[in-house]
């Protein structure tokens, strides 16, 4: 009997990419995604956590600012501090910043408008649990859909992110060049995604879960989920003890 990895997809009031994330895992073998309502207090032994995109609490006040007080966030913070992989996409990234699991903040897009279209992002660090299936500097085509994705952090934080290889994705042109025109929201250093110091918490604005099948226009996001499963399979000796 094969034991499946368990991934929690957290639903906050206003999350709207929870089903999309769930589905992205569903397409893979060896993993059992499960929804977790934000009011649950315990994560209860899952192997990884996803904070999906959407508009938790309507994005009122600041995107992610209210969701980070949801009961489940205490467990998520603990899980992350203990080294458990946490993936925050779009609104999930914003929540991670508000919760202090990632540095910096996501401001309103510099063009002041919501932007929804495909972008190209360059894999800056294939050495994370989320990117091992990518080549260095591989260019991916994935959709964005956000109004507050302009990454901002103090200069010393940016220097630290740069120096420690914690910038995982940057916006770029189709051929991998960095340019202001290819930066959809004004993010500092073209940042599209970063990890925490330990490397187990990834926040990114683009939506890899919307790019997992050719019929949707791109499957460049699929290796991200596969990378995570590789990582979990390798690092989850306890998986064998679970019953399904």
């Amino acid at each position: 009997m094969s034991v499946k990895l368990r991934v929690a997809v957290v639903t906050f009031p206003g999350s709207n990419c929870d089903h999309d994330c769930y589905r992205a895992f569903r397409l893979l073998d060896g993993v059992e995604p499960e929804f977790r309502w934000h009011r649950e207090a315990e994560l209860d032994g899952v192997d990884a956590v996803v904070l999906p995109g959407g508009f938790s609490y309507g994005d009122y006040l600041r995107a992610g600012s209210i969701a980070r007080f949801s009961p489940i966030m205490e467990s998520v913070v603990r899980f992350a501090r203990e080294g458990g992989p946490v993936l925050g996409i779009c609104n999930g990234f914003q929540i991670l910043c508000e919760a202090g699991l990632l540095p910096g903040a996501l401001l309103r897009n510099n063009g002041l408008r919501f932007r929804s279209h495909d972008v190209h992002i360059r894999v800056e660090n294939p050495g994370t649990p989320f990117t091992s299936r990518y080549e260095p500097h591989q260019v991916l085509r994935v959709p964005i859909a956000h109004g507050e994705g302009n990454y901002h952090a103090a200069p010393e934080v940016l220097a630290e992110l740069e120096g420690a290889g914690r910038i995982v994705f940057r916006y770029c042109t189709p051929d991998g060049t960095l340019s202001e025109a290819a930066n959809p929201n004004g993010s500092a250093h073209h940042i599209a995604g970063i990890v925490n110091e330990a490397g187990n918490v990834l926040g990114m604005m683009p939506h890899p879960e919307r790019a997992v099948e050719p019929v949707l226009g791109s499957s460049d996001g699929a290796p991200l989920f596969e990378s995570l499963l590789d990582h979990l399979a390798a690092a989850a000796p306890h998986a064998g003890e679970l019953t399904t």
Partner: protein, 89 residues
């Protein structure tokens, strides 16, 4: 000509729903703050204007509010003015 420092406070008209205020109220409550009355969220726009007199400055900012800064259909506004360097509020 003097420089005046204006703060324009734009608030949702009374009676209109303020979903953002509602969400903040809800969040404050669930953080354990009770006895918080109605919360409403508006904008505070600060700008500097040159004008010959306080009255002229006020008139200019008022016009800006009507034309651009506030949406007359859904928002009210209030102007606070102070003269740069030693002006009184």
């Amino acid at each position: 000509m003097s420089l005046f420092h204006a703060t324009v406070r734009v608030t949702p008209r009374p009676g209109l729903l303020d979903p953002e205020g509602k969400a903040i109220h809800h969040a404050l409550e669930s953080l354990g703050y009770d006895g918080v009355g109605e919360v409403r969220v508006g904008k505070a726009i600060t700008l500097e204007v040159e004008a010959a007199s306080r009255d002229e400055a006020l008139a200019r900012v008022d016009e800006m509010c009507r034309k651009l800064l506030a949406n007359p259909v859904t928002e009210d506004y209030r102007i606070e003015l102070s003269e740069e360097e030693g002006g009184t509020p």
